[in-house]
Amino acid sequence: MLLKLTWLEIQKIAIRPRSYIGFVAITLVIFLIQLAMWIDGTSYIGFVTQNIEQTFLFEGKILNGNLICFIILQTLIIQIPLLIALVTGDLISGEAATGTIRLLLTRPVNRTTILLSKYIAGSVYTLLMLVWLGILALFVSLLVFGPGDLIVLKTDEVIILQSADVMWRFLTALALAFLALSLVGALSLMLSCFTENSIGPIIITMAIIILFTIVGTMEVPLFDRVKPFLFTTHMIVWRNLFEDPLPMEQIRMSVYALVGHIVVFLGISIVYFKKKDILS
């Protein structure tokens, strides 16, 4: 029953035009970044490495497909959760707004199964978006710019990873990004249970992510204590895969934090949804 319901939910997502906004936006952003790097990538690289090039010389191909993919992933890190929330944020509330939730709940299926099917359908949507992102950002960039060592710039250090050591990191990073985006799906689904209009949960999810990201970005000692407890901090766990050696403890902690948040958000959703009076 869960599979059948999930398939129905996937179909519901597929027929809504807004589901394609994310794909179009990602395609456009990636195309623009690739075009900009193709035309003016050398001066961009010169700008970010000028600090090092006062003392050292770089030899080799810095501007390559791996670097372009890394830049794209970094650029899209804030936007993709918003695109996911656009779809997952009204999985319940959208149906409440249109009144179809009442009809759905008259079927002989328990509410937990209905909620889980919606969450799984949202996760499938997330997965498809990440696969699309991976194809455009990684494979097209490699095709256009060619392979090469990846130079990872951090605020206080530079890591250079050899070309042969990069592909598995990107694939694992996409898998971890899926986990992080599933958390956004769970959060927006939870908020979706609380309201009966479709725009509210989407806006609140976006607001929470933006707020947490701002707090995480600001270098204020007060916020430093809070940062480890913000789920947005753990959502960029994929970046840790581009460190050498891998900070396994930090990755493990972030994975636990992400899974924990998903379980809590889904748990709250199930408890609330099961008791919810459907008045619409």
């Binding site: 050292f56 010389l57 030899e59 951090k154 605020t155 250079i160």
Partner: protein, 230 residues
Amino acid sequence: MKKLIPFLILCLVSDLIFSQDARALIAAVNKKFRQVRNYQAEVVIRTEIPFIKMLPVSATLYYKEPDKLRIKSKGIAILPKQGFNDLLQALGDTISYSALFQGEEVLKNIHVAIISIIPVSDTSDMILGKFWIDPQQNLVMRSQITTRTNGTILSEYLYGKLAAFALPDSMTVTVDTKKFKIPKAVAADINNYNSNAKDPAKQSKKGKIILGFSNYQVNKGVPDEIFKDK
């Protein structure tokens, strides 16, 4: 006053003699350098810079007289901006500096002469050059070049089979590193709550690049095209 004049003459003469000694030693070193018209070699570059993490990189080094030098690597390699091929230029241009003999020292069980060179022009980037030269083999064992732009660059050389051509088996370049910091917005290093910027290893102000040379092919010809493609 009568006693002072001979002393001053003695100082002047001894300075002239030592200067001539220094010039003669540099000339001998240059003569050895000039035997090499061109060469290529395999090089393994190991980087020990506080803010850079990378594995050793293999590359091929090409040289053609008088000053063409090119390193080609499949991956990204980091080289010191100065200190790598400055030795030839610094010692080769004999009219642009004054040379002084500064004494002797034992370096890795070898008696070496210490020669300092001071540029004649006050607009030169190099402020001072100091060379530890093995007078028996006419080999530079260590050089320390202080520049206006990059501080002090210390290079140490280890010679093997090709000592007769003054080509080292290994070279260690130690440079002064500036503090590395780029804005979060540029690095997109957001939410980096676990920054290890206070790591003492990263606070070090010295960086080392170690180059291991092998498979030298000396005076067998290097095409000019190699130096054009950059």
